[in-house]
């Protein structure tokens, strides 16, 4: 009986399941004409930002698969990437070799941080998200200690351009001008005034293929099993803790790669703030794409990046056009990313509760049927 839902009911269900993406499509549809940007400018910006950001967001998928929720601790990978880039900048190795060296260099850092984070999360099962969020704050402090005080006296940093004038610690901004967009510019093609960073997109494509392939491996299957029911997985002989640990390590290492791609596009490192907001914005973008705490796909990543960044680009101008104050747009986009995360968390809980009361409804229906049968007698 339930199979034959009316079209209206089906549409309503679709809408309630995809409320966040729909909301953002509407916001973008309103703001784009108001901002007055040309189509080619918009496309150019979006394509650039896709290349910059998608890799970072993809790293969130694997912990979600393992049932560990949104990995706020991807910031750890970002820190590892930054430290590697600081070294490379100090050694004055630029261009593609610099990027590749930094990518190799960040791997041991992020594996170490991933192991640390993963083993803490294994002790906080069921509370992974808040725990990873706090870990990212804690390690931000550690990062500052290393970068601000240890780099110079303990860890050799020579080049004056990145050192603070006082002789130790790293400047607020480290310029990567000599490797700016060096990945993006390889094989870049321009179509209708839109520059497409072919190599970056190729790297992203390879990563997407990796994720698709990974889901089909034994490890991927184990992660999905662990993500859905740890106890059942354990009874079947799967090493639950180890599987969860691996998922966080993979995520952290990937976040490190992602951060290096991100920073080579930007052309500079804001030493003390680049990483701190990146986790929040990546998670918001993923959620805007329609992902939830326990389900996310590659499609969610692409849709999310396009919608979230379109809003990012047009909101300040649209805000200025409406109120005459461009700060309102700036405010709006920060407000939106926190808002989206809150909505996603609330929806996740309500969905869980709704599923729970389903059995109660069935019981009520059965009791009512019995009453009706008796009345018929």
């Amino acid at each position: 009986m339930e199979e034959k839902k009316s079209f209206g009911a089906a549409a309503l269900e679709f809408a309630s399941n995809n409320i966040v993406p729909i909301l953002f499509v509407v916001i973008c549809a309103v703001c784009i004409p108001l901002s007055g940007f040309s189509v080619s400018y918009l496309l150019n910006e979006i394509v650039t930002r896709m290349g910059r950001n998608i890799f970072l967001i993809l790293c969130l998928l694997i912990p979600i698969m393992a049932g560990m929720g949104l990995n706020f601790a991807m910031t750890l990978g970002a820190m590892a990437g930054e430290i590697a880039l600081i070294f490379v900048a100090d050694w004055q190795i630029w261009g593609i070799p610099g990027v590749v060296l930094a990518m190799i260099l960040q791997i041991p850092f992020s594996i170490l941080l991933g192991l640390l984070c993963g083993s803490i999360l294994n002790r906080a099962k069921g509370r992974e998200m808040i725990t990873s969020y706090i870990i990212s704050f804690f390690l931000n402090g550690l990062y500052q200690l290393v970068v601000l005080f240890m780099m110079g006296p303990i860890i050799p940093i020579k080049h004056f351009s990145i050192k603070l004038p006082r002789g130790y610690g790293i400047r607020n901004t480290v310029s990567l001008l000599n490797m700016r967009q060096c990945l993006d510019n390889v094989f870049a093609v321009t179509i209708g005034g839109v520059k497409i960073p072919v190599l970056t997109f190729l790297i992203i494509a390879v990563l997407c293929l990796f994720i698709v392939w990974f889901r089909k491996t034994k490890l991927g299957q184990d992660m999905r099993a662990v993500g859905q029911d740890m106890e059942v997985a354990r009874d079947a002989g799967i090493h639950v803790e180890r599987t969860r640990l691996i998922s966080i390590v993979i995520s952290t290492v990937m976040a490190g790669f992602g951060m290096i791609i991100y920073l080579q596009n930007m052309g500079n490192i804001a030493t003390y703030s680049s990483h701190s907001q990146i986790g929040m914005f990546c998670i918001a973008a993923l959620l805007v794409g329609g992902a939830s705490v326990d389900r996310a796909s590659i499609g969610n990543v692409f849709l999310g990046v396009i919608l979230f960044h379109t809003m990012f680009i047009v909101a300040p101008r649209a805000g200025a056009a409406i109120t005459g104050d461009s700060m309102i747009g700036e405010y709006f986009r920060v407000f939106c990313s926190y808002g989206v995360i809150t909505i996603a968390l609330v929806m996740y809980e309500t969905k869980k509760r709704r599923n729970k009361s389903k059995t109660a409804q069935e019981l009520a229906r059965a009791a009512a049927e019995e009453t009706a049968k008796e009345a018929a007698k």
């Binding site: 089909k216 491996t217 034994k218 299957q221 184990d222 059942v232 799967i238 109660a360 019981l363 009791a367």
Partner: protein, 528 residues
């Protein structure tokens, strides 16, 4: 060696901290035999199976005595995985399935056939890709072996509950080394037709030479499929005979019938048919996991002690928990002519109902607080008792003197063993904690009291005292008491009438003078 039985258990003994739960259990099982194992809850069936399956809980509580021989060789499984490797499979009462996976993925969970790839050479076997074709073939073979058709590509959470059960069975059958399969109440969740299919499937397994231990409360199933029957009671085997030589009546009698002499301590039983109806329950359903109540109609007479009995999982515990608002419930409940809204514990308490929960530590007690607090807290909270009012009631202070007095009174009355009334509740023994729970309810001075499993896990002496105090409370204050218990003898000793719950419904109400056989037959009458 070929003459040795597949499984032999000799003189199995087990105690949980001095509490003997199994004594001298002997059983033998040959390849292809189907053994029906029955007994009331707490008879020791599950413990016996846990020992056989090498579950952690057995070792953690000090191991067991006696020998288990498999194919004539002594075995001692340290983990369930060793038991699995030796060819023992078990389908538990609770499903152990991954909800978002298909039947195939669940059947082959962690035993998936894989394909090698370049990356797995470098990073290890876990990066092999799954061989879905081979998986389909193997799961189809297992389903074929089971003989009941289920959709292999359907995900578990969209399956009817019976198919989940079959998926579990297929998973065990897909293990090639399987020699012995333990089915723990597999038909509990099946419809009539599905249960029939399962019985056929068991016959098929037996024909293939797989031995089956079949635990169920549906006795006619045992007679129709098993080759031999073992009945357990109080940790002993009381009947061991071929299925052809026994009957449902005999098994029931052996399951519940204790020695008539010890069970004869019956007190006065009042005829309550003339009493006024205090509470009437209509079409009650309760969504309490594991204790689902489906449709209960029940009238409780004023001033009586009504016992509610039944097997575990049939819904007897759901009734008080649903009425008192601890689990989601529906239907109508009227008390003293007034409708009691379901799902609101406060309104129940306001209507002078009280509840002593079976979950002493979780619901019943404030473990980290003193006995005084535990006894007086609900009365303080609900009825503003034990409070001194100042400034016309704006400021309320606890009346420590009165709290002390009332706690002292109950400590004396119920003979609660404690160092002082300031001792913390968690420091008391189980029996004394139970008495505190009762004191707490008594302090509320309710008109109507639900008592759920008041003697679970407490020793004989404390049991008698708890039951006696309940009886006294009923007789002296005229309070209506509804006592839920899985021990029939206990119900028969203090109740006026006994209602038996089976399959989430009231199977029948008998006076407490009814025989154990009559009550026992009701218990299994509607088991679902």
């Amino acid at each position: 060696m070929s003459n040795a039985p597949l499984l032999e258990m000799r003189n199995i003994k087990k105690d949980f901290f001095g509490n003997q739960v199994l004594e001298d259990i002997n059983l033998t099982l040959r390849a292809g035999e189907v053994l029906g194992l029955c007994g009331e809850n707490g008879a020791g069936k599950s413990t016996l199976m846990k020992i056989l399956f090498g579950m952690d809980v057995i070792r953690e509580t000090g191991g067991y005595g006696g020998d288990i021989l498999l194919d004539g060789e002594k075995v001692d499984f340290a983990t369930p995985f060793e038991a699995l490797a030796a060819g023992i499979g078990m389908v538990h009462q609770e499903f152990s399935l991954i909800p978002g996976f298909t039947a195939t993925e669940n059947i082959l969970l962690n035993r998936e056939p894989t394909k090698h790839s370049v990356l797995s050479e470098i990073f290890g076997e876990r990066l092999d890709t799954l061989n879905h074709k081979e998986m389909d073939v193997r799961s189809a073979a297992a389903i074929e072996k089971m003989g009941v058709h289920i959709d292999a590509d359907m995900t578990i959470n969209s399956m009817p509950v019976g198919h989940k059960q079959f998926t579990e069975i297929a998973r065990e059958l897909s293990k090639e080394q399987l020699k012995l399969l333990i089915l723990d109440e597999p038909t509990a969740v099946l419809t009539e037709k599905e249960a029939e299919a399962l019985l056929d499937s068991i016959r098929g397994m037996s024909a293939r030479g797989i031995a089956v231990i079949f635990i169920t409360h549906r006795l006619h199933e045992i007679l129709s499929v098993c080759s031999k029957v073992i009945v357990m009671r109080d940790g002993r085997v009381v009947q061991d005979c071929p299925a052809a030589e026994t009957s449902v009546e005999e098994i029931t009698r052996n399951m519940v019938g204790r020695n008539v002499e010890t069970g004869g301590a019956q007190r006065e039983v009042r005829d309550v048919s003339g009493f006024r109806t205090a509470m009437s329950i209509r079409k009650l359903w309760v969504d309490m996991p594991g204790e689902t109540v489906r449709c209960v109609d029940l009238d409780v007479k004023e001033g009586e002690i009504l016992g509610i009995g039944g097997l575990a999982g049939q819904g007897k515990l759901g009734i008080p928990n649903g009425i008192m608002g601890l689990y989601e419930a529906g239907g109508s409940v009227t008390f003293d002519g007034q409708e009691i809204p379901l799902g609101s514990p406060r309104r129940c308490l306001d209507a002078s109902l009280a509840f002593v929960s079976e979950d002493r530590r979780g619901v019943g007690l404030l473990l980290d607080e003193s006995l005084e607090w535990n006894v007086s807290f609900p009365a303080m909270q609900i009825q503003n008792k034990f409070l001194k009012k100042y400034l016309g009631g704006l400021v309320k202070w606890r009346d420590e003197k009165e709290i002390y007095a009332v706690t002292k009174k109950y400590i004396d009355e119920l003979a609660i063993k404690c160092t002082s009334s300031k001792q913390k509740a968690k420091e008391l023994s189980g029996g004394n904690q139970q008495k505190i729970c009762l004191a707490k309810a008594f302090a509320l001075e309710p008109k109507f009291l639900f008592v759920s499993e008041p003697t679970r896990g407490i020793d004989v002496g404390a049991k008698a005292l708890v039951l006696e105090s309940l009886r006294k409370f009923n007789r002296d204050s005229g309070v209506t008491v509804v006592m839920i218990s899985s021990e029939l003898e206990e119900l028969r000793s203090i109740c006026d009438r006994i209602a038996i719950v089976s399959g989430g419904r009231i199977a029948g109400i008998l006076p407490a003078t009814a025989s154990s056989e009559e009550l026992g037959m009701l218990m299994v009458s509607k088991v679902v």
